[in-house]
Amino acid sequence: MVNLKVENLSKTFDKKTVLNNISFEVMDGEFLSILGPSGCGKTTLLKILIGIEAPTSGEIMKGNKKITNLDPSKRKMGIVFQNYALFPNMTVLKNVSYALQLKLKNKKHAETESIKILKMMNMEEHLNKYPSELSGGQMQRVAIARTLALNPDIILFDEPMSALDADNRLVLRKELKKIQKEFHTTMIYITHDQEEAFSLSDRVMVMHDGNIEQLDKPNTIFNHPKNEYVKQFVTKHLVEKVRSIEKCTGIDL
């Protein structure tokens, strides 16, 4: 079933086109990555999807409902940022239960629910810690738990692992995949990291200069790039990997 539908979406800032008449669909429970270099329009797209930026033209449909001009609070979407945006004056548990408590108006219930989710994220040992006492990976787990607690239909991720080291990224990637399966939540994941996009996603959307260059399954993009740009973009990453292996091992691949 189609969960989110974007139709002919455009955005211009002072005569500069950032999104150029783009259309795509996201299925229910799908993991979609939006991949592209900085300046390709992916962050603007995320802001429009979440509702903090208005498009110049075009429509966004969620299910059968038009949400183009709907307030962010009514879209049932959550967001996870690269810099976590955890509330520094609240403990891990409070960070997760805060919004839920306001919604349910029941502190105990909110806390029980929050603890359940934090357990799933392997964070039960850190409930009473403050964000500054956590590692980057732990903070990102709390941020994800905070979003999950409100049970959104779609979660948007804005380069959530860019600030983490390689090991942490690998672990969190696996966890994210697990959570997605468990909660069956639609996830839209913005990244410039191809490895991340290809390993996590059901489908990948390659963006360049405000246009969608290709939207397909990872292996289709890999094996059948639609145009020269996608081909260059995908192989560049591979070539870099090969070069680094060559450098380390001294073997000419």
């Binding site: 509702g51 009514k74 945006a85 520094p88 306001l102």
Partner: protein, 532 residues
């Protein structure tokens, strides 16, 4: 309508009524066509006042900035001991009205001063004005330069070393280069302060009339508002120039310095610098100490025995009501000013847009209005309204006079708080009000306390903004110094100065303790306000 645009409109309205209306109204009343303006400018009295003002201000500014530079250098670049205590001592002169600095000088070096009663010399006149102005203004210049020194990244010095630059080259290419803006900023700020201050010259100037005293005498003595306004126009000029400079050249959003300067060992330098610092601060302490001496000695020249005569006189003359007036006004100004400053800063730092930029410029503009001109514009514009002769007008004028600095404190702090909190709140269906109350205010608690105390202390010491606006019922403590000093009751004036100093020190200390506790608490959960 969105709540935030309502807030912007409210702030614009407040500024419109409290700043634009009185100023424009005052300026519109200047009649250039009837020849009065030309007559004033051509008069000897005016020419003298202007040249006197320019003379004392130029010398005072240069010396004040030099002293401040030396102190900032000593505290940032040498291993001088007890730095935090020295910093507190440097800020002491900011806790008393400018007229008290003049008064302290009279106590020491006046016609029958503690020192000058033994030597045939006194500093009444331009020397006194220059000395008083320096003491009054160097702490401000110090704060600007201290900040300037702090934000020079140590990596620049490491790089200079690697490149083989000698000390002089490093000073020229790194230190001085990065201090150019703070130095110019300090220069303009001090120039404006001295040029527009009338407290020091009124107390210690004698017959040496400066422009602000000229304005004060025209308005208070001769009730000539139109001539006062014309002089006010001249007082606005340096303030306006310094404002333009600051707007275009000063970087208001401070960057974090991740690599603080590493001080090198050099005992000889430390001893020399320490002697200099102790001499400067020793002078400040002697000046403040002279208040205690004057307050509790029967007569400085004739009978030097301990006496409570002055104290009893001050207490017998209803001092309680003046203390109440001052503290009441200062508390309300501090509270309302912080609310206005913080909410304006919230709009400009976190709700971007053209309106915010405009508002930002607007609030910083208030920095350029000298207190005495603002006070005059209020007298002219509000004398027929119900707020005249009430606390309301005193509170309003103080808020407008001092709002820019606490606004900038909040602006800088709010810029540093994670810009994504509001987005998270929106998606979680948490109202902006709630997120501000539950997250953003707790994250900027220390800044809010600094804002509160800044407004409190400044409302306690100001005389220029309120001098035309009080009546016998609303008169604040600071103006009492003016009265006593005018009647040569130096002991009584000293007691009032001491009172203001004590109240302000208490206010500062309580905020310091609260912030210190907060820091300790934050250390426990590791938040550094600047780095959220």
């Amino acid at each position: 309508m969105k709540k935030r645009s309502k807030l912007s409109i409210f702030i614009f309205l407040f500024i419109g009524i409290s700043v634009l209306f009185p100023l424009i109204n005052m300026l519109l009343q200047i009649d250039f066509s009837n020849g009065n303006f030309q007559k004033l400018v051509a008069s000897t009295a005016f020419k003298n006042a202007l040249s006197h003002s320019l003379f004392v201000t130029s010398i005072g500014t240069i010396l004040s900035v030099c002293i401040a530079f030396f102190l900032a250098y000593a505290l940032n670049r040498t291993n001088i001991k007890h730095r935090s205590i020295l910093k507190v001592l440097i800020s002491l002169p900011m806790l008393i009205p400018s007229i008290s600095h003049g008064l302290g000088l009279i106590n020491l070096f006046g016609v029958n001063g503690i020192i000058t009663q033994y030597i045939p010399f006194n500093i009444i006149g331009r020397v006194g004005i220059i000395m008083g102005s320096i003491i009054y203004s160097f702490p401000i210049a110090f704060l600007i330069l201290d900040d300037g020194f702090y934000y020079i990244d140590n990596n620049l010095y490491s790089t200079a070393k690697v490149l083989g630059m000698n000390k002089w080259q490093t000073f020229k290419k790194v230190t001085f280069c990065y201090l150019k803006k703070p130095l110019l900023s300090a220069f303009f700020a001090v120039f404006t302060m001295i040029f527009t201050d009338y407290g020091v010259p009124l107390a210690v100037g004698g017959k040496y009339l400066t422009l602000p005293v000229f304005l004060y005498k025209e308005v208070i003595g001769l009730l000539d508002y139109s001539e006062g306004t014309m002089i006010g126009l001249f007082l606005l000029i340096p303030a306006f120039i310094s404002f333009v400079f600051d707007t275009f050249f000063k970087n208001y959003g401070n960057v974090d310095n991740n690599h603080p300067f590493k001080r090198e060992e050099n005992k000889g330098r430390d001893i020399l610098v320490s002697i200099g610092v102790y001499i400067i601060l020793g002078f400040v302490i002697v000046l403040l100490g002279s208040f205690i001496y004057y307050a509790f000695v029967e007569n400085v020249t004739l009978d030097k025995s301990f006496s409570l005569t002055h104290f009893n006189y001050v207490v017998g003359n209803n001092i309680g009501s003046y203390i109440f007036n001052s503290i009441f006004i200062a508390l309300i100004v501090s509270l309302l000013g912080t609310i206005v400053g913080y909410s304006s800063a919230y709009v400009t730092a976190r709700v971007k847009g053209k309106l915010s930029k405009f508002l930002h410029m607007f609030i910083i503009c208030t920095l350029a209005i000298p207190g005495i001109v603002l006070g005059l514009s209020y007298t002219i514009s509000f004398h027929n309204t119900f707020i005249y002769n009430t606390y309301v007008i005193l509170i309003m004028v103080n808020i407008v006079h001092f709002i820019a600095t606490p606004y900038l404190m909040a602006y800088n702090a709010l810029l540093k708080v994670n810009q994504n909190y509001e987005i998270v709140a929106k998606t979680c269906n948490i109202s902006t009000f709630r997120i501000v109350k539950d997250v953003i205010i707790p994250c900027t608690k220390n800044t809010i306390r600094e804002m509160l105390v800044y407004l409190f202390v400044n409302s306690m010491v100001t005389i220029s903004a309120v001098t035309f606006l009080f009546n016998s019922k609303t008169m604040p403590l600071s103006l009492l110094i003016n009265n006593y000093e005018g009647n040569m009751m130096l002991g009584e004036a000293a007691i009032v100065s001491l009172l203001i100093l004590i109240i302000n020190v208490l206010a500062k200390v309580s905020v310091y303790i609260l912030n210190y506790r907060e820091e300790r608490k934050k250390e426990n959960y590791g938040i550094i306000e600047e780095a959220i």
